[in-house]
């Protein structure tokens, strides 16, 4: 906010550092976010693999990490969750693709505040470095899970990772909050103020709507997490008692008194539930875009899609209590939270219905991005259907903290969102790098990942109902869990295969970047504004021209039109619906 030259007034930079490192160009920043998330996702995936191996061979001595002790297992779990939620699911679909394509899709030369944009990326980067540093300090990474429940997270004496590791963790999260707030500010201003002539709000592609609403959620949610994090840091380091009641650790009375661990849970989940939608909404936007493009049909119920996004965003702020049914809350509040949670099923069902409506009688082109979009719908349905189960206190109480919950949120928030990222990658790769990705490798990647993720997370629902808890590091010796070992072994092997095929994706990504066939400006015959510019786009996106928008975003198969699609910037004389 502190500069006079904030608004796009920069010429194309020349030097390497200004061009690729401290770049003001939203496209470079978008790619920086994307590659940061790519590094993060492989780190997070490696951690999950270690956990899966430990689950079935608890005494195995692994290369590099040695034998996984219970506290190591908990720190793996904490770091896996934190890295995946913050640095992958929040970073890639919103900050990565949003940065790259929001300005181009609305016909703007850059984001509203390029300097702020650069700051926001580098702040995120610093947060990531601090988080990873937690592995390498005395005591190691924290044990308190990605939710950081107090008093465990608030007491440095509570465990080996709870000393410096937990301080680094909470510092990293606080810095990430600030970065996200800067990003959200930029996204909202850009969407409201930088749209090209003719690009009314109701002509924006649904991707832009999703990024816009996600930015609003981020703006309102991350401030609260920041406040919660500051209180936690004070409790940890300056002896205050916001979250810590009178506690005895190892026979020693701590100096705290009167704090409320539930206060952390409320503040955390007030952020945490909107965060779930921050992770999934951009992928919903991408899915809508892809289904329409590759079915060669207008999106079914554009307005309903927009209002459903808004409704999901709004309801997302009213349901945080459903994470806390076990906390002894009043049954009346539990009832209210339960009803609000189930109400989210309505806009979600509208979206699913419209996606299926878009597919119906479409002339579907089964390119890799389309497969991932269809995969997203499938995962959204199967992951979403267990939501109403968990939304009911009576069912949540036995299922809470079991593998059922792990299966539920991995399917819907994790894998579905990742499918959106994959779809977006295959779809926009030609625009970003000027070359096409390999279709055969893409299809292998899709089918193995789809079957693999279902094989990993569907059985977890059964494990959860059979009583397998979430955070225990070792259960192979527990009598009633003996019969679950074969299923757990199956999941671990499915994880091996699914992770292996991600390297096919990685190879495809980098190989196609240099060796893929050259892409045309509009290889998918899509309609939105990013496909009107050259591939890859010039520094100011449109080579000095300013696009004028005359059509809605999804004018496919228009009767009487010369081609089967009308681009948004085509002259108004071209007949639309």
């Amino acid at each position: 906010m502190a500069t006079g030259e904030i608004i796009h007034a920069h010429a194309a930079p020349q030097g390497f550092i200004r061009k690729y490192v401290f770049s003001l160009d939203h496209k470079v920043i978008g790619l920086q976010y994307y590659f940061l998330a790519l590094i993060a996702v492989f780190v997070g995936m490696a951690l999950s693999l270690l956990m899966r191996i430990h689950m079935i061979w608890p005494t195995a001595v692994l290369p590099l990490v040695g034998e996984i002790k219970p506290e190591t297992y908990l720190s793996l779990l904490t770091m896996h969750g934190t890295i995946m939620v913050f640095f992958v699911l929040t970073t890639a679909p919103q900050s990565g693709f949003g940065n790259y394509f929001l300005p181009i899709q609305i016909g703007a030369p850059d984001m509203a505040f390029p300097v702020l944009n650069m700051l926001s990326y580098w702040t995120t980067f610093v947060a990531f470095v601090i988080l990873i540093a937690a592995f390498f300090v005395p005591g190691g990474a924290p044990l308190h899970g990605w939710t950081g429940y107090a008093p465990l997270s608030a007491l440095p004496t509570a465990g080996p990772g709870q000393q410096l590791g937990a301080d680094l963790w909470i510092t990293s999260i606080a810095i990430f909050c600030i970065a996200s707030l800067m990003g959200a500010l930029n996204f909202i201003t850009t969407t409201l103020d930088l749209r090209a002539k003719g690009m009314t709000m109701m002509r924006m592609p649904l991707t832009c709507w999703a990024w816009f609403i996600t930015a609003i959620l981020g703006l309102l949610a991350f401030g609260v997490l920041l406040s919660a994090g500051i209180l936690l840091l004070l409790d940890r380091n300056l002896g205050t008692s916001f979250y810590v009641p009178l506690v005895v650790v190892n026979g020693q009375v701590m100096g705290h008194k009167g704090g409320s661990p539930l206060l952390w849970q409320h503040l955390f989940w007030f952020f945490g539930h909107p965060e779930v939608y921050i992770a999934i909404l951009p992928s919903m936007g991408v899915t809508s875009q892809l289904l329409s493009t590759f079915s060669r049909k207008p999106i079914f119920g554009y307005r309903a899609m927009v209002y459903a996004l808004m409704a999901i965003g709004l309801l997302g702020f009213m349901v945080w209590g459903h994470h806390m049914f076990m906390s002894g809350m009043s049954p009346y509040s539990a009832f209210a939270f339960s009803i609000m949670t189930m109400a989210i099923g309505v806009p979600s069902a509208i979206k699913t219905f419209n996606w299926l409506g878009t597919l119906r009688k479409g002339r579907v082109r089964f390119h890799t991005p389309m497969l991932f979009a269809i995969g997203f719908v499938s995962l959204f349905v199967s992951g979403g259907l267990s939501g109403p189960f968990l939304a009911q206190p009576v069912l949540d109480i036995p299922l809470h903290d079991t593998a059922f919950v792990v299966g539920h949120f991995h399917l819907i928030m994790g894998v579905a969102s990742i499918f959106g990222i994959f779809g977006a990658t295959y779809y926009w790769f030609p625009k970003m790098f000027g070359r096409m990705m390999n279709e055969t490798l893409g299809k292998i990647h899709f089918f193995v990942t789809l079957v693999g993720t279902y094989s990993i997370f569907m059985p977890m629902h059964y494990l959860g109902m059979a009583g397998q808890t979430r955070r225990y590091s070792q259960f192979t010796e527990v009598a009633y869990m003996q019969r679950l070992i074969p299923l757990n072994t199956f999941i671990t092997f499915a994880a091996f295969i699914t992770i292996a095929v991600q390297f096919v994706f990685l190879f495809n990504l980098f190989w196609s970047m240099f060796k893929g066939p050259k892409a045309s400006d509009n290889p998918w015959e899509a309609t939105t504004v990013e496909w009107t510019t050259t591939t890859p786009p010039p520094h100011d996106n449109f080579g000095g021209k300013t696009p004028v928008v005359n059509h809605g975003p999804y004018e496919y198969s228009v009767p009487g039109a010369p081609r089967d699609y009308i681009m948004q910037t085509d002259p108004a004389t071209v007949k639309a619906h």
Partner: protein, 248 residues
């Protein structure tokens, strides 16, 4: 198709973009900021920066909403007394140095007025700049009281006053970790002080840009958003003061 374009309702006096109105032209880097093609469009920049500030203030608001809800929840909580094993309220109302804080409030409100005068001063300068640039036209000596400097001085006065208030609290036996209530007093006042200090950094930046001979229109944007931010900080302080005094 209905349109939902909240940003177009404001008339943009300087667009000159053939009505497209939403595109910042690419600057050639030079120019005096007025006239001709390729010059920065300051009217549009001002509007956009104000919008950005408004959105930024929402996130600041959410930060303090978070603190406030923690305050209210924590204030109402009973706590276990280890001697009697019963639930008691451990919330000790903090005896605030009200007189000192009222003086501070006065300082901040006066600084808000000087800030507004600085904002209007530079707005007038921008409006008069085209007239003054005509050769041979003089509008006489503009009375230019250093309102920005006065604002920074008053802001520093406020922060010093807050420091004195913390010392006074310490003298009365209320430290950060003494009780939850005193924790919140320090937390809220310090969080506000940090935000106010951020505003002062922006004001100093505005002062530096005036030395660097940046165009007055660019400086005006900085002063303008700093002013709105400053007014928000004054309001926020009154809210915090009222919360700490009336809900203690």
């Amino acid at each position: 198709m209905t349109t939902l374009t909240p940003t177009r309702t404001i008339k943009d006096p300087k667009t000159g973009q053939g009505g497209s109105g939403v595109h910042p032209p690419i600057s050639d880097g030079g120019g005096d900021g007025r006239g001709g093609n390729g010059s920065p469009d300051y009217g549009q920049r001002l509007r956009r920066t104000r919008l950005g500030l408004l959105i930024g203030l929402m996130s600041v608001t959410m930060l303090f909403v978070g603190f406030t809800s923690a305050y209210i929840v924590r204030r109402g909580l009973p706590t276990l007394d280890e001697r009697t094993s019963t639930y008691v309220r451990d919330w000790i109302p903090v005896n605030l140095p009200v007189a000192l804080l009222l003086v501070n409030t006065g300082l901040l409100l006066v600084s808000s007025i000087t800030m507004e005068l600085a904002r209007r001063q530079i707005t007038r300068q921008v409006a008069l700049a085209p007239v003054q640039s005509i050769p041979g036209v003089s509008l006489g000596e503009e009375r230019s009281f250093p309102w920005l400097g006065a604002t920074v001085a008053l802001g520093l006065g406020f922060l010093t006053g807050q420091w004195m208030a913390w010392r006074e609290l310490a003298n009365r036996g209320f430290y950060l970790a003494t009780s939850a209530s005193s924790s919140f007093v320090y937390l809220l006042t310090a969080a506000h002080a940090v935000h106010l200090a951020g505003g002062m950094v922006v004001l100093l930046y505005a002062a530096i840009t005036s030395l660097l001979r940046k165009p007055v229109e660019a400086r005006r944007i900085v002063v303008d958003i700093a002013a709105w931010y400053w007014h928000f900080m004054a309001l926020l302080w009154i809210y915090i003061f009222a919360l700490l005094e009336f809900a203690r």
